[in-house]
């Protein structure tokens, strides 16, 4: 039986797709590779923030408040005299983490639910998909706001909220992919040979779903970053004195006409990172999974 299984695994083309990914990306999607570099630079800046800036992110200095960009403060200071570049670098930690970690968790939850539902079918599938329908019928921002209302503000609750909101969309896509893969002959062959269903799911279905999941992950991150920024902008997300780009935009809005850099600097940062993830996602999708084109 082990030998039959090995043949079945070899016949699945999961390995083919994952080889030389970077090479295929760099051949036709140079912008995607450039976006990857930008994302890595942002990540490095977030990690090395204390080294890159001499200021503390919450060091108040009222004599320096609302100073325009200068040699001492490259991106100016905010209403508390805090260096904007410093807050931008520390804020990138929150914004990137909230973009990536909850999305990853949504992927895990959504994949488990979608794959199980699609593979087993029947009443389980019907109930699970109705629940997913209910979650997706909710305008996602409103659902996020209601969950935040229930849990209270703060970074950890923002994580939980985004997972609650994000899993349903992933579950639907993974379920559709599972239903498609279930039709393949090698899956039926595995069942006939007597391979356990859990093993089929983990060894045959999951590896073939992976390209779709990876592309979905990359395309959902910008959405998560925008949701967190929006929540923080409305005062429901990350709370002061923590820095997050959305929060910086929200507090800077009060000074839109006197100190426009307070709003627009974090806005541009959000725009660049979201654009980078969108370009990367587009490139990955074209290389890995053309089925998702038109999303």
């Amino acid at each position: 039986m082990a030998e039959d299984e090995r043949e079945l695994v070899a016949s699945s083309n999961a390995n083919e797709r994952s080889s030389s990914l970077l090479r295929r990306l760099s051949k036709d999607h140079k912008l995607s590779v450039a976006s990857l570099v930008v994302i890595l630079l942002f990540a490095l800046a977030a990690v090395f923030a204390p080294v890159l800036t001499p200021y503390d992110y919450d060091a108040i200095s009222l004599s320096d408040r609302l100073a325009p960009p200068s040699f001492e403060h490259l991106l100016g200071t905010d209403e508390g005299g805090r260096d904007v570049l410093t807050r931008l670098l520390y804020g990138s930690r929150v914004s990137l983490m909230v973009g990536i970690v909850p999305t990853m968790l949504s992927m895990v939850v959504g994949t488990l639910v979608g794959m199980t539902s699609g593979f087993f079918g029947g009443k389980v599938d019907t109930v699970v998909m109705r629940v997913a329908d209910i979650v997706m019928s909710f305008p996602s921002m409103l659902l996020a706001m209601v969950v935040m209302y229930t849990l209270g503000g703060g970074t950890a609750n923002v994580f939980l909220t985004m997972v609650c909101v994000g899993w349903a969309g992933v579950a639907r896509v993974v379920r559709a992919e599972t239903l498609r893969l279930k039709q393949n002959e090698y899956i039926e062959a595995a069942r006939i040979v007597g391979v356990r269903r859990l093993r089929i799911m983990l060894r045959h279905i999951l590896p073939n779903c992976l390209p779709t999941i990876v592309v979905l992950f990359t395309l959902e991150i910008p959405s998560s970053i925008l949701t967190e920024s929006s929540l923080s902008f409305l005062g429901m997300g990350v709370q002061p004195p923590s820095a997050s780009w959305g929060l910086m935009v929200s507090t800077g809005r009060e000074f839109l006409y006197h100190a426009p850099w307070l709003c627009f600097v974090p806005c541009v940062a959000i725009m660049i990172i979201v654009l980078a993830f969108n370009y990367l996602g587009d490139g990955l999708r074209d290389v890995l999974d053309p089925h998702l084109r038109g999303r």
């Binding site: 109705r130 409305l234 935009v249």
Partner: protein, 311 residues
């Protein structure tokens, strides 16, 4: 209407109803999970227990949750959404006018996004793989990537500081909807442009396009009457879904431009911990989205006879 289509419609209506009731129940449960008595929070620390209990009882908050939910849903069927904690008025009186403002904003934003999105998508599709294509698709991606609050505040800054052509807050007349519509519609236009481009390119490869050209039709005729008409199916679905999503309130745009719409009302309800108002706005938003998705599904069936006839 054939039996299959009628059955399909009934099934979709049933699922829509389940979704709406499910969301209402979810919100009801979530809002009651919050620790602390909302009446006590509303009345403040000075209120004594007797007053809190009396008011809780009059609002029905001391009854079992299921009874409260049943009473609430029965009230909704009669048009009674309860009374706002913050403003003391019936919720129905508050969400009615707010929904009208949101409706105008949604129409304006949709019109902008449809015109700009379809035009950009068509131009990109007819100049495929040229610099024009890359430029327009770059703009579309920019549209999708720019946060709404950034576009909104940029427009406010430029028009308040330099141009003075249009009002930057409030909607005293129709000109007040222009800037918010652009802020909202910009991102939606990006999505539509991308879909129009991919859909039209796919359709242009069909045989009937060659036939139309062979019959002597001009390029414009081929594009509009043959390509676009057949490419519109997924685009119409996207447009319908975007419209219903807009109807559920543009929280950020309405907040920034101080438009008294459903979105802004929801944000105020959350900030003021006003449960009846939040329940009312949420129920309305969900109803709109579910109905919008249903209409999008039906439009698809109506426009594509293959779906209708089950081919």
């Amino acid at each position: 209407m054939s039996g299959t289509v009628a059955r399909g419609l009934l099934r979709r209506l049933l699922y829509a109803l389940i979704a709406i009731v499910g969301v209402a129940a979810l919100v009801f449960a979530l809002l009651r999970v919050v620790p602390g008595n909302p009446v006590a929070t509303l009345l403040g620390e000075q209120a004594d227990n007797e007053t809190v209990e009396r008011i809780s009882s009059s609002l029905g908050l001391d009854q079992p949750v299921l009874t409260q939910f049943a009473n609430y849903m029965l009230g909704v069927l009669r048009g009674d959404f309860g009374e706002s904690f913050m403003l003391g008025k019936p919720v129905a009186e508050l969400i009615g006018p707010a929904f009208v403002n949101t409706l105008w904003l949604a129409l304006a934003a949709s019109l902008f996004s449809w015109v700009v999105g379809i035009a950009c998508g068509l131009i990109a599709a007819t100049h495929k793989s040229t610099i024009i294509d890359r430029l327009f698709m770059g703009f579309s991606l920019l549209g999708v990537s720019l946060p709404v609050f950034m576009v909104a505040m940029l427009l406010q800054y430029v028009f308040a500081r330099y141009l003075h052509w249009l009002p930057v807050t409030g909607v005293s007349d129709w000109t007040g909807y222009i800037l918010p519509a652009v802020a909202l519609g910009w991102g939606l236009a990006g999505s539509i442009a991308r879909l129009v481009r991919s859909s039209v390119i796919e359709v242009m490869q069909q045989d009937y396009i060659d036939t139309a050209i062979a019959k002597g039709r001009t390029n414009v005729q081929v594009l509009v009457f043959h390509a676009l008409r057949n490419a519109m199916l997924p685009i119409i679905t996207l447009m319908a879904m975007q419209f219903s999503s807009l109807l559920s309130g543009a929280f950020i745009t309405e907040t920034i431009f101080s438009i008294n719409g459903i979105g802004r009302l929801s944000v105020q309800a959350i900030a003021g911990r006003d449960i009846p108002l939040l329940q009312g706005t949420t129920l309305l938003c969900t109803f709109v989205i579910v109905m919008g998705n249903l209409v999008a599904d039906l439009l698809y069936s109506v426009c594509d006879p293959r779906v209708r006839k089950g081919a």
